[in-house]
């Protein structure tokens, strides 16, 4: 009864989402069949389209993983976007500064640098929360604007490419770019970085005493304190890892995809990351699946716009609807689920 109720409620969510999508498609005056066909072919239609899903999934996995690690210890990180930008700054600065290093040293160094920059950007709110009880929801969010503005300043001043009139940096030296898997696609080695991060985070959170403490603090800080676990230490640590992972996402975007620093390097990955973590239930594997799903939704909606004339904004609306339905699931489907 309990299990089938759960399955039924998710089926209900799927049907409602589908219904709302159809309504939206009809509202913009497109053909529903054609829209769905173009959506699916936008994802699975070609080798390239599938690789595009993976390209989009890389930053979503990393930032989503970051948000999830934070959430495990009760650190609500709204600032993955800003931390991603900090990571992007780190990789760009380091690449120009250490430009004669070979790739084998450069790549690990810039990843580490991105981790540290992103981590610092999030450990400050983490410290403020742990030490003074200041809400990290506000501070991390505010830090986004600062980071984005810093990028804006940098690409117009010291990092500006002198040979171009646009506010962007020059191309990174080759040693600082991640290799592309297949020359016909944009899929780069950032995918490996993301997947390795997933495995490492999974081991850290689920297999080590440190991860255990972080989870315990997230679920019941009071009981943790009474058992001698330092709530302070664990919040600071998890905020560091959380921001660090988002920083690595910034590294991958710059050195894997754009090969330079520019304004608007992330179309809101850091915010979508919150949804990725939420849908993935803050579990590393869940994060991978939900990141792939959301990336596919975005890539598919591009196909839908190209071929059926349905605006891509629909994908954002649908994402919002899904999140709303998942959050409201327990009360919407109260009758199906057992009393709590």
């Amino acid at each position: 009864m309990k299990q089938s109720g759960n399955v039924l409620s998710f089926l209900g969510i799927a049907i409602l989402t589908l219904g709302i999508s159809i309504l939206l498609i009809l509202m913009v005056g497109s053909n529903v069949n054609q829209a769905f066909f173009s959506f699916l072919s936008g994802i699975f239609g070609s080798f390239y389209s599938v690789s595009e899903v993976l390209v989009k999934a890389i930053p979503l996995i990393l930032t989503g993983l970051g948000v999830a690690v934070g959430a495990r210890s009760g650190f609500i990180n709204i600032g993955a976007e800003g931390q991603l930008y900090m990571g992007a700054i780190a990789v760009t600065c380091m690449a120009f500064w250490l430009n004669d290093l070979p790739a084998i040293l450069m790549i690990p160094l810039v990843i580490l640098g991105g981790f540290v920059f992103g981590g610092v950007w999030s450990v400050i709110p983490g410290f403020l929360k742990a030490r003074f009880g200041i809400s990290e929801v506000i501070t991390t969010l505010m830090f986004n604007y600062i980071a984005i503005s810093i990028v804006g300043i940098l690409v117009r001043t010291i990092l500006k490419d002198p040979s171009s009139s646009l506010p962007m940096s020059a191309f990174l030296p080759d040693s600082a770019t991640l290799p592309v898997f297949m020359s016909t696609t944009r899929l780069h080695a950032g995918l490996l970085v993301a997947l390795i991060s997933v495995v490492l985070v999974w081991i850290l959170v689920w297999k080590t005493p440190i991860g255990y403490e972080m989870r315990a603090v997230g679920l019941n800080p009071r009981a943790s304190k009474c058992s001698g676990i330092s709530v302070y230490k664990n919040i600071v640590l998890s905020s560091l890892i959380s921001g660090g992972l988002a920083g690595i996402a910034g590294v991958c975007e710059v050195s894997g995809l754009h090969h330079k620093l520019l304004e608007g390097i992330s179309p809101g990955y850091g915010y979508i990351a919150i949804i990725v973590a939420l849908l993935g239930k803050n579990h590393p594997l869940g994060v991978v699946i939900s990141a792939l799903g959301i990336a596919a939704l975005q890539v598919g909606s591009l196909g839908m716009q190209r071929m059926a004339g349905v605006p891509t904004s629909i994908s954002s609306i649908i994402m919002g609807v899904v999140v709303l339905l998942i959050l409201a699931r327990k009360s919407l489907f109260r009758r199906l689920l057992p009393d709590e």
Partner: protein, 509 residues
């Protein structure tokens, strides 16, 4: 004719029968006790009446009419009111604001506060429920808060008052005062249902008593026609093992748990005031007192969860005044908190993870930097068998276990590795008699192994049953420490719990 009659009420949670064809009748103007162990279905039955739970089957007749409330609001509209065990008051509002909360009185949303206060005072004076209507709830004692809850119901003209464990937090004197109020309510033709498991109180105040056991009716009888022994038999349904305490075996080599002049001052409020105490190995010292007189502060200072402002705390000659919680625990202090769900367990974690709360820092459970899951699993399995913890499997979140089984897991965890001292704060709160007995036996077993035990309980009977010495705490101070002998003056202890010390003042009362 009965004022209220509930017939064949059934209610299941997760396939477990909480109420099984329960019948209950209430006459107008009677005080009726609903007696049973924890988990017998008393509160469930009343929550069904009050519209908090829906019943699976059965009929409720109120003044001869069939009713079925879907929310407390509807029950209150029919003049039925309930005071829950945990009060539903807003601490930052005044008494008067709390009483009229949710009512759209004349002039709403700008009611005439003076007129309302006059009405409230009229109601409260009628039943001897003295209260300052302009006081803030946060400044009131537990007894006064209870008065506010009752006035709240009377203000809404409740003809039936349901009181869930009303005396649990009161001193003996406050309880007597409270009974006076109940008698006045009865004289006024109102009916009262008291949910309780305290038999002596039933004998002194109620007209009739209904006993429930395992969700079923056992008996309904006039209180005057039944004895305490019979009631106890009905409630438990079996014979209790009586608890035997052997004399202490002194262990000269150990100093035990020592508190020297320990004080705690937080935000200019004195939580503890020069507490000195030495607990010998193999001794149980019970601390009696009304909840909120510094008990929580005392245990948390001993554990290092709060830092004392002055004084010294030591164990077996080792000064641990400035040690962290973890260091103290590693020294061998087991801690049973009064709030197991908040302080002792992570309710959303499973059994093995909750055992890890202590063992994740122990080297034997770590292998190559990783938690040795197999060993933890085996350790937990052993504990589950040894303490007979009822659980579907080791992966069940603690949330889904009963209170008794949750408490057993805490005991198992905190008593592992032969602790030198145990701080047990309300270790049997909310447990049924079987589980209570188990916990008490465990404490006595530790005592005979030379453990120093500090037992804090609001239940005076428990203190009397287990302690070698009894300390009475009031406003963070020890009013006195006595050996627990047969000729102990109980009323004396009761008065000390209420803050009175000298014999002279006792007589002048």
């Amino acid at each position: 004719m009965a004022l209220l009659s509930m017939k064949n009420i059934c209610k299941s949670f997760f396939g477990k029968r909480a109420n099984n064809r329960v019948c209950f009748d209430l006459m107008p103007g009677e005080i009726h006790a609903l007696l049973g162990e924890n988990g017998a279905g008393k509160t469930t039955l009343m929550n069904i009446l009050y519209g908090i739970y829906s019943r699976d089957s059965g009929v409720i007749l109120w003044k001869g009419q069939e009713v079925s409330f879907t929310s407390p609001r509807e029950a209150i509209a029919c003049h039925i009111g309930m005071v829950h065990q945990h009060f539903m008051l807003v601490p930052t509002l005044t008494v008067s604001q709390n009483i009229t909360l949710g009512l759209r009185e004349k002039g709403y949303p700008f009611p005439d506060r003076k007129a309302l206060n006059a009405t409230i005072t009229e109601v409260s004076e009628k039943y001897g429920l003295e209260i300052d209507v302009n006081a803030y709830i946060s400044s009131l004692s537990v007894g006064e808060q209870q008065r506010v809850e009752i006035i709240k119901l009377l203000y809404r003209d409740a003809e039936l008052l349901i009181l869930d464990e009303p005396t649990a937090m009161l001193t003996p004197q406050e309880t007597e005062y409270f009974f006076e109020v109940l008698r006045k309510l009865r004289a006024d033709g109102r009916s009262v249902i008291i949910i309780t498991h305290r038999i002596p109180e039933i004998m002194s105040i109620t007209d009739r008593v209904t006993v429930l056991r395992d969700g079923c009716n056992v008996v309904t009888e006039k209180t005057s026609d039944i004895t305490e022994q019979e009631l106890s038999q009905y409630m438990i349904g079996r014979q209790l093992n009586s608890i035997q305490r052997e004399p202490i075996v002194p262990d000269a080599g150990r100093e035990g748990l020592l508190l020297e002049d320990v004080s705690l001052k937080e935000k200019n409020i004195k939580g503890l005031d020069s507490i000195s105490l030495q607990i010998a190995p193999g001794e149980i010292v019970g601390v009696a007192g009304v909840d909120g007189n510094g008990q929580k502060e005392l245990v948390e200072v001993i554990l290092g969860i709060r830092k004392q402002s002055s004084g010294k705390i030591g164990l077996d000659g080792l000064d641990m005044s400035s040690m962290s919680v973890l260091e103290r625990k590693k020294l061998g202090i087991g801690y049973i908190s009064d709030d197991r769900q908040q302080d002792g367990l992570v309710m959303d974690m499973n059994l093995t993870d909750n055992m890890l709360l202590k063992t994740h820092t122990e080297q034997q459970f770590i292998k190559g930097g990783l938690i040795n899951a197999r060993l933890v699993w085996e350790d937990t399995k052993k504990v589950v068998e040894e303490y007979a913890i009822k659980t579907p499997d080791l992966n069940t979140p603690l949330r889904n276990l009963s209170g008794g089984n949750q408490q057993k897991l805490i005991l198992a965890r905190e008593m592992a590795g032969d602790p030198k001292a145990i701080v047990a704060h309300q270790p049997t709160r909310g447990l049924d008699i079987g589980a209570t007995e188990f916990v008490q036996q465990q404490l006595l077993q530790r005592r005979s192994k030379g453990c120093c035990i500090l037992l804090i309980s609001a239940d005076l009977e428990e203190i009397l049953l287990l302690s070698d010495r009894i300390a009475v705490i009031y406003k963070g101070r020890f009013m006195g420490i006595f050996p627990n002998t047969k000729d102990l003056n109980l009323s004396h202890i009761g008065l000390m719990m209420a803050g009175r010390t000298s014999e002279v003042r006792e007589e002048s009362l």
